[in-house]
């Protein structure tokens, strides 16, 4: 009975009720959208990293550190037999060396990355390199990403001088031929990188059979002279970045929740103030003051209940539409986030449940706060409209 009464009163507030419901519903939708977008973002970024670089982890030559380019040359080695024996779709042998190119007579340091031309583990568009023979004949065939092409003003078919050091420290220089400019899913393996055939790079550096790491699909157990780096390990920086994004979205959530809370709070204060006579009447009729508090709290809390429904009505078509277009994040090319294609929402039922619960609980709380004072109200003063002035 009290709930029915509360709902009737809620409806009586008309525009104010609608406003409260809308802002609360928008809070719910925004929170779920944000969290799900971050999930989608994380899933996509992780997937791109895995597909283009990380795979199921790296067996790296002990001591190799991608962030210390001057030491790349010191940490190469032969591929152990156990890894060598893996089929092409379960490993990608990779050699990383420093080099410099000179587009338009400017020096441009690059990472030369040689990948086995036959590997099928990583999703890299390096088909252009396949048709070349194992031994370099004329120019060295390379593939670069679109970002790299833009930076260096190189196009498909261009040649440019590449300088590098071989295993014994001798500097070598030769023309490379850009056989392909490709779109790489992961900007991290685009800018500053020149992709070569592994056999070519080994040949150029006189490092027959040597690699920096072997990307594998599955952990193969300990391998002598190599360190295994897990997926989590290799993506640590990315995961930290995403955690920050999550924190930012919580700030947005707090702001929205604050607005919704203030709106409901205000309505409730006005309710208590404007409806003192009604409160007095209820008390005179024998309704206990704590029941009156409950009625008024329910009135505010109904906002939460209806908001959840409205949020559903907004969210379902909105999210369905969003899933058909996705969010274009091509602007992230400039950052180091490994996403360049559109991202989509990825829903986590627990997160959705949790967000809704928090919003509903907070709404009930702010609906209750201003009406608490009813329980101390003098009914005779309330009847005269003078309990609160």
């Amino acid at each position: 009975m009290l709930i029915q009464f509360a709902i009737k009163n809620f409806l009586r507030q008309g525009l104010r009720s609608i406003l409260n419901v809308l802002i609360t519903a928008i809070t719910i939708v925004t929170v779920i959208f944000n969290l799900s977008l971050l999930n989608g973002f994380q899933a996509r970024a992780t997937l791109n990293m895995v597909k283009t670089d990380v795979a199921g982890g790296h067996y790296r030559i002990a001591g190799f550190d991608l962030l210390s380019p001057t030491e790349w040359e010191d940490h190469t080695g032969l591929v152990p037999d156990s890894l060598k024996a893996l089929p092409e779709d379960q490993k990608a042998e990779t050699l990383i060396l420093q080099g410099q190119i000179f587009p338009n007579n400017r020096l441009y340091p690059v990472q030369m990355r040689g990948v086995g031309p036959g590997q099928e583990l990583l999703d890299l568009p390096l088909q252009g390199l396949k048709r070349f023979p194992e031994k370099i004949t004329d120019q060295i065939p390379v593939v670069i990403g679109t970002k790299m092409a833009e930076r260096t003003h190189l196009k498909q078919g261009d040649s440019v001088v590449l300088k590098w050091r071989d295993k014994f420290g001798a500097v070598d220089a030769r023309d490379i031929l850009v056989v392909d400019v490709v779109k790489l899913l992961n900007p991290r393996v685009d800018e500053g990188m020149v992709w070569l055939r592994l056999d070519h790079l080994q040949d150029m550096a006189r490092r027959e059979g040597e690699v920096s790491w072997v990307a594998v699909e599955l952990f193969q157990g300990p391998v002598p002279d190599m360190e295994f780096h897990s997926v989590d390990d290799l993506m640590k920086d990315l995961l930290i970045l995403l955690k920050n994004d999550r924190r930012n979205s919580i700030i947005l959530w707090i702001i929205l929740m604050f607005l919704a809370g203030i709106s409901v709070f205000n309505t409730q204060i006005l309710n208590v103030f404007k409806r003192q006579k009604e409160i007095g009447t209820l008390l005179a009729l024998g309704v206990e003051s704590k029941q009156v508090v409950r009625i008024f709290t329910w009135e505010g809390a109904v906002t939460a209940g209806i908001s959840v429904v409205v949020a559903g009505l907004i969210a379902v078509p909105l999210f369905m539409w969003f899933q058909t277009v996705g969010l274009d994040v091509s602007h992230l090319e400039e950052s180091t986030i490994p996403v360049r294609d559109a991202i989509f929402l990825e829903f986590n039922p627990f997160e959705i449940f949790y967000s809704i619960t928090v919003v509903v609980a907070l709404t009930i709380l702010v609906a209750w706060l201003p009406v608490r004072k009813i329980s101390h109200m003098d009914p005779t003063l309330a009847l005269r409209g003078k309990a609160i002035t």
Partner: protein
């Protein structure tokens, strides 16, 4: 049924005590149909509130069916009001979101009756106050007299032992006042509830059988009607 023993009520205004009621002793009979009269500020409303357990005296005792109201907590007082006391206010104070029917039904629901069991009883009383056609209207759609009749029905539906009506006719024209007073007189005879009004409306006098005059918070006189229908 109701007994006031040396009841006083003092309000504190600023840092001064203001005595609104001074040492009032009264006994109200089971079937009373009586009125407090007196100028504005004489303490009528204050007295009714004390009798209904809506307020507490500064000193003295209020006994309802022998039970001391001042020894009860808020919740117990609410129980008494819920079960035994009907309030009618100067302005009707109906619940605006409820229809006539629902307003009258409300006290029964509070007393844990089911709507299906209460429906007939509510409609019978709504008919008695002449509002059958308006049963589904909201208070905002009714006239002042109609609203006051709803308020009376709401006060009576639970068959209270005591009905306290604070200036029930103050907002009504003569015709409506008479109709309402006749109605209450009827109900008093039928249901045997004690009716206590407060008023400074002279028109009320001809209906009641006891009149207590208050002035400055004290009883000036207390007259009952004799066999000739005169107060003495």
């Amino acid at each position: 049924m109701l007994e006031l023993k040396q009841v006083s009520k003092t309000y504190r205004v600023g840092n001064q005590d203001f005595p609104a009621l001074k040492n009032i002793s009264l006994t109200i009979e089971e079937n009373a149909f009586m009125s407090f009269v007196g100028p504005s500020g004489s303490g009528k409303t204050t007295l009714l509130n004390l009798m209904g357990g809506l307020d507490r005296p500064t000193s003295g005792q209020v006994l309802f069916d022998g039970a001391q109201l001042e020894s009860m907590n808020r919740s117990e007082l609410a129980q008494i009001r819920k079960q035994h006391i009907g309030f009618i206010f100067q302005s009707h104070n109906l619940l605006p979101v409820y229809s006539v029917y629902e307003n009258v039904l409300f006290p029964l629901l509070l007393n844990h009756l089911k709507e299906q069991d209460a429906r007939e009883r509510v409609m019978a009383l709504v008919e008695k106050v002449g509002l059958t056609e308006q049963a589904n209207k909201k208070p905002a759609e009714l006239s002042g007299g109609q609203c006051q009749r709803v308020a009376i029905a709401r006060a009576l539906i639970k068959r209270p032992k005591l009905v306290l009506a604070d200036e029930p006719t103050a907002n009504l024209d003569t015709e409506n006042s008479f109709r309402i007073l006749e109605l209450m007189q009827d109900l008093n005879e039928q249901y045997g509830a004690a009716f206590v009004f407060s008023t400074h409306d002279q028109r009320v006098t001809q209906f009641i059988n006891r009149e207590v005059r208050l002035e400055d918070g004290a009883v000036l006189w207390d007259k009952a009607k004799n066999g000739n229908g005169e107060l003495e």
